[in-house]
Subunit: 146 residues, 2 copies
């Protein structure tokens, strides 16, 4: 199941937030988008459709948990969800809280920068990242369908 | 439920491919990414977590159907899935077949162009877009869980 050359098989891939046997949640360390989390599937599969129905439900339930914590705690302008994997073809879902004041909004985080954010984006969030991580950890560890 | 100012409430939003009561599938007309489809939720909701559990399952089942047709017919290098909605906050899922020869690969379609594609990308697909649309229509119309 593990691929020795795959960075998401080999490494955590960011700040560890929470784990269930079939997936983990990590936080990307991105100064422009501090509330940027990833749900990383444990097994090395490339595509969402490589999962069976029960696995897909568990995966999206985890994405939903992260999205709901971000909405409840940060009241973002928009949530962005994406499973791309062009560079690292190991299934991972990006779950990103976007704000109308962020460096790229309304562009995708992969698009062109629109503005500078004075004093850094993390300082503008309603709670510190460690507190946000803790809320996500609690939500993920409480999942009955993981 | 409808918002008069929302382009996805007002218009189809692309080439119509298939409809179910709760969602439709359209094809974006993008010369760089010809196999670029969108699952557009019928009701005007902004976020995936605005759907209830049964609706989320139906929505992702539709995304899955499109992904599976694209994989089976085109054997893409990668499938890209995304629900962003920063510009049009009406729930829609992008389902995009990506190829290692496409204009932006491995960048996201919203990132920087990497190369020119001679003769156009659509001509390099294994089947004409109308045939691809028809296969997706058939898959969506056959859904028992829509």
């Amino acid at each position: 199941m593990e691929h020795p050359d795959c960075p998401l098989c080999r490494d955590v891939g960011g700040v560890w937030v929470a784990s269930q046997p079939r997936f983990r949640v990590i936080r990307a360390e991105d100064a422009d988008f501090p509330a940027f989390y990833r749900v990383v599937w444990t097994a090395h599969v490339a595509e969402f459709s490589d999962l069976n129905a029960q696995e897909r439900a568990a995966c999206m339930a985890a994405v939903l948990q992260v999205e709901q914590v971000l909405r409840r705690t940060l009241a973002p302008t928009k949530i962005n969800l994406a499973a791309l994997g062009n560079v690292v073809p190991h299934l991972h879902w990006h779950v990103i809280a976007r704000f109308d004041w962020d460096s790229h909004f309304p562009n995708p985080v992969w698009g062109e920068r629109r503005r500078a954010v004075d004093a850094g984006a993390a300082a503008r969030l309603a709670l510190p990242l460690e507190a946000l991580d803790a809320q996500i950890r609690s939500a993920i560890e409480s999942m009955s369908d993981a």
